[in-house]
């Protein structure tokens, strides 16, 4: 019993640390991009996540188009109708558990919505929004 508890605790801590570690990396990058960097901003993250733009496919989309309004719920891919598991790490423990996966999707999804990759500041802002929503 104690062992299971310890294991669960370990898992929670280790998954939390993946996103924390990634945010630390982004902080370092953001300071290089902008010497007066003053931390990540949830409000800006919300704007990045919810605002619509003419994306790569020439259609008006936002992050919400695929991930939905409620990040604790399953949503549908705007282009393919395939189900997407909840983006919120509180609802879906698989989220933010591997830096390679986070980076892959941020690169792709910024390109899909903004037609360019996100800056370290933008990526940090939007992650801060997602994990706290």
């Amino acid at each position: 019993m104690k062992l299971i508890f310890a294991l669960l605790l370990f898992l929670t801590i280790s998954s939390a640390s993946v996103v924390d570690e990634y945010l630390n990396t982004l902080t370092k990058e953001a300071k290089i991009e902008n010497p007066s960097f003053s931390g990540f901003d949830l409000k800006k993250g919300e704007e990045i996540f919810t605002s619509k733009h003419i994306g790569k496919k020439g259609k008006e989309v936002s992050c919400v188009s695929c991930h939905g309004d409620d990040l604790s719920k399953t949503s549908k891919n705007f282009f393919t109708a395939k189900e997407i598991e909840p983006l919120s790490p509180t609802a879906n423990s698989q989220r933010f558990s591997e830096v390679k996966t986070i980076e892959k999707w941020l690169r792709r999804n910024f390109n899909d919505v903004y037609n360019r990759e996100g800056t370290a500041q933008e990526k940090g802002d939007v992650i801060t929004y997602i994990i706290n929503k």
Binding site: K56, K57, G58, N77, F79, T80, A81, K82, K100, K104, R107, R108, N109, N111, D112
Partner: protein
Amino acid sequence: MKLLILLAALASVVLASSYDKKGVAVATDKLYIKECGACHFAYQPGLLPANAWQKMMSNLENHFGSDASLAKEDFDSISKYLNKNSAEKFMNYKRSARIVNSLRVGEVADSISKTPYMIEKHKKIREDLITQEEVKGIFNCTACHTTAQKGIYSEKDIMIPNFGRWED
């Protein structure tokens, strides 16, 4: 006797050119299923010849208007898998053979649904049933073919959303 040999030879030729397997070989590679099944159903490699897969893989940054780019090591592994299991290597499967045989010599297909065999098979479906929200396009095989995951595309296993079973 000579006639018998001739008959036997003929029979083996006929057998060799007929598919001993229906459908298309199922996709088995875990990485492929995870990566190429993230935005849509993981199409069986036997649905396109190697040259078409190569063309598609060479432009993942702009994959049908979406960014589907991969890390180098995953790209290499998936390219290899597709190349090893492409349609022309599995001509004993009925659907792979039909798709390959429908292409003109030298033609490199841009997608599965735009191959002549697929166009022919789907031309009788009402346009609004294809473009509806639940389907979006012919690319979405699993929306109508209930056994697509198993590589089976038989008519009896078709169920179109807001329409029902397909009876020819």
